[in-house]
């Protein structure tokens, strides 16, 4: 009978349960995807060229587990907040605590198991399609990547079911410790946090000091090495927490006494925040850190994505050189977005390669100059024929245009008449510098393959910076992928954490908005009020997270040496990330509205 009642209760709130189930399923799926990558040794061995990669995987795994724990905690409190009243009612009707306890335990566990099972299946599918799609988009290839990997399935199942057993036990204890009356009237009692100026001042100062240490540690990664990361994690967490505790309440208090607070629902908004933010400090801290990590991971990922071509550019003055182009190659070349191109006729004889001075005068060879620091200059330059004859022929890129089994031929420039008389094997070579390597990746790849087939230099090398780009892509591709993957996973988890924490407060708010409705507050005003309140709760960790990232990127400076910089082009990445965050905000808001806003007529 009680089981039937419980089922009926779930049916009545099936939409809320669906949200909960969907969130948990997503979380399990994401965890599976990650576990699939992190536990697949063959995959890591094949791809972790960079020593940091395995470290990053390990770190990612620990972080993801931590987030999962927090996430399930909040999801569980959302579940409990939905069911409290029903459980109280059952007890009032005479059900024993033991019986209700069993019910709670079973309900949590069943929900969790279902979510885990669906999550793993979803994770499998996502590994198959989404990861493939992501890799394809990034133009990466990672070896030994399989969708179904048994150890990953086991790891996900054990972690999730284990956590849900813990959550069920927690619910059981919570429920058996509270009285029936408290369950029935489970409305939050407003405990008004007190403002203690002196203590808050100390907290604020300490918070800033901790943050400063954390940010410094990130920037000083060269000195601190791997230690920088745990140091920064601890100090930034503490600093953020203390700073939130010290400032948010004071700001709200300050605002409450202004005339602004006495307009429309502003006072109510501040009151709500005032008694919420205190409970939310810990969660906001966690979320702001997650936000920072997610944003940081994506920024670093996209940093590699954008900057690999830049790095490649410094390897050679032209993107690719095509010898004796075939009609197929010509077609491919027509697809390129050319910034500079030149075609030279070579005559190769013995160890020498001869060039026509007329051609070189008409299409001067682009060259790279280096600064004193060894950094390449941003702009290429060309020389007059006279100067080029003197020094330009020693240019590595120029010499590389004629490679043979013996290495590079020695170039010599002849006047047009001399060149015409010169005997030797005639080869034409076309150098092309494209505007944007990423943009022309596909035709370049094919061109490179064709060149390789016909004119393979000693180690299957062709010339041009594209070859270098391909090599580096293999080298850093794993990092790039991890960045994107972790970023998206963290974002999905953090936003869901925030969502559930906020939503678990919604049933308590129902009553408040009902009162406002009775007093005669317009529906629109209430909608706006809620939008503002939740918006602020999303905004606080967002701002803090962005600041964390701006400092945190210092950490990647040694990895992304000039001309790369972790800060390059972060604007668009930030925008996309914030866009996704806003979508989460809107979903939360819509759900909140649905739970909280009173229907227009009484029941």
């Amino acid at each position: 009978m009680l089981g039937k009642l419980a089922l009926a209760g779930i049916k009545n709130r099936r939409r809320d349960y669906l949200v909960l189930l969907a969130g948990l399923t997503m979380s399990a799926a994401i965890f599976y995807m990650f576990a699939n990558l992190a536990t697949n040794r063959a995959f890591i061995k094949a791809n972790a060229v960079v020593s940091q990669a395995s470290l990053i995987f390990g770190f990612g795994a620990v972080l993801l587990i931590l987030i999962t724990v927090v996430y399930i905690m909040y999801a569980n409190s959302f579940l409990l907040s939905m069911r409290q009243h029903d459980y109280g009612l059952f007890m009032m009707l005479g059900a024993t605590r033991k019986r209700v306890g069993e019910l709670v335990f079973l309900e949590t566990l069943i929900l969790g198991t279902i979510a885990t099972a669906i999550g793993i299946v979803l994770g499998l599918l996502m590994s198959k399609f989404l990861v493939g799609f992501l890799l394809n988009m990034l133009g990466l290839h990672l070896a030994h990547l399989t969708a179904a990997y048994v150890p990953a399935i086991i790891a996900t199942a054990v972690l999730y079911v284990g956590l849900f057993i813990l959550a069920s036990l927690f619910n059981l204890v919570r429920l058996t410790r509270t009285t029936v009356l408290n369950l029935l009237h489970s409305d939050e009692q407003a405990n008004q946090p007190k403002v203690k100026p002196f203590r808050q001042l100390i907290q604020g100062t300490l918070g800033i000091v901790f943050l400063a240490i954390g940010y410094w540690a990130l920037a000083a990664i060269k000195v601190l090495q791997v230690m920088a990361i745990p140091v920064a994690l601890v100090t930034i967490t503490l600093g953020t927490y203390l700073l939130f505790r010290a400032t948010i309440l004071v700001i709200i208090r300050g605002l409450r006494h202004t005339a602004w607070a006495k307009k429309h629902l502003n006072g109510f908004l501040l009151g709500q925040l005032n008694f919420r933010v205190h409970n939310y400090t810990r969660m906001l801290t966690i979320v702001s850190l997650l936000f920072a990590m997610a944003l940081g991971a994506i920024t670093v990922g996209s940093g590699y994505h954008k900057q690999l071509p830049m790095m490649a550019k410094t390897i050679g003055t032209y993107t690719i050189a095509v010898h004796d182009k075939t009609p197929v190659e010509q077609k491919l070349m027509d697809q390129l977005h050319v910034a500079y191109t030149a075609t030279y006729t070579q005559k190769r004889q013995g160890k020498m390669v001869y060039y026509n001075a007329d051609e070189i005068a008409k299409q001067p060879v682009e060259q790279q100059r280096y600064k004193k620091s060894g950094q390449p200059e941003a702009q290429l330059y060309t020389q007059s024929l006279k100067d080029f004859k003197k020094s330009g022929t020693q240019d590595m890129d120029f010499m590389a245009l004629a490679l043979g089994k013996i290495g590079a031929y020695t170039p010599k420039i002849l006047s047009a008449e001399q060149f015409a008389k010169q005997t030797g094997k005639t080869v034409t070579v076309t150098t092309i510098r494209v505007k944007d390597l990423q943009q022309d990746k596909k035709p370049l790849k094919q061109l490179n393959k064709l060149e390789n087939k016909r004119f393979a230099a000693p180690d299957g090398m062709t010339v041009g910076s594209y070859q270098g780009f391909e090599m580096m892509n293999g080298f850093f591709g794993g990092l790039e992928f991890m960045g994107y993957f972790l970023g998206i996973a963290f974002l999905a988890m953090l936003a869901s954490c925030l969502m559930f924490k906020i939503l678990s407060g919604a049933p308590g708010d129902q009553r408040r908005y009902r009162m406002l409705y009775k007093v005669g507050v317009r529906q629109n005003l209430m909608r706006w009020g809620i939008a503002k309140e939740i918006g602020i709760l999303f905004l606080i960790p967002g701002i803090m997270g962005v600041i964390d990232v701006l400092f945190g990127l210092q950490m990647f400076k040694p990895l992304m040496s000039a001309p790369m910089s972790p800060y390059l082009g972060i604007g668009s990445t930030f925008l996309i990330f914030i866009g996704l965050y806003v979508i989460y905000y809107l979903i939360t808001l819509a759900l909140y509205w649905r739970i909280v806003l009173p229907k227009t007529t009484t029941d």
Partner: protein
Amino acid sequence: MTTATTVVDVHGLEKTYGKANERQYRALKDINFSVAEGEFVGIMGASGSGKTTLLNMLSTLDTPTKGDVIVNGHDVTKMRGNQLADFRAQEVGFIFQDFNLLESLTAEENIGLPLALKGTASKVMDQAIHEVAETLSIADLLQKYPAELSGGQKQRVAAARAIVHHPSILMGDEPTGALDSTSARELLDLLTTINQKQAMSVLLVTHDPFSASFCQRILFIKDGQIGSELKRGSQDRAAFYQQILTELGTFNE
């Protein structure tokens, strides 16, 4: 019908719950009455008699199936959406059995809410709040949160919130229901004072004869219809109380 001296005018009011093809329940049948300006009217009835339904119709929290409700010249049944909200915010003051104070706001902020909704300037607002707090002798409670107040104090704060914007009528739904007898008497004295000094019309819904005895006129409602009416006239409260008890004795038979 609506003259300047009538605050509430109810005409042929009916409320039926349930859809046409389902089992229907008529909560109110052909209710007619009016409240004059400055009058203190009580509506009495047992639980289930329809008195709260009636109050919900008057305060626009619910819509009638048939009939008219005119409050201070506004036809309530014709209003929609924001009009309804604005009407509640400006024309009606409410006191509920469970106080309906927002626990995240101080007493002062709770009282100021109706003014804030109107967009009143903060100086005018402060003055109005202090005035009403003086009248209800809760000036020393303004900075406290509802959780720090006793039931009686809470209800006085709620009363202050109900009258701070000078509504055309004050409606109470069992306002003494959750109070001890001393606090209840204090609140009823307070309502009487408000009614007399500020000439504010008061409509009190109750099942408690003691509370009802503070009214000038009482409408008895039974099974959704007004059964009888009692006027206090010149007799004192104690005598009126006896009269109510007698009336209840026969009315409920």
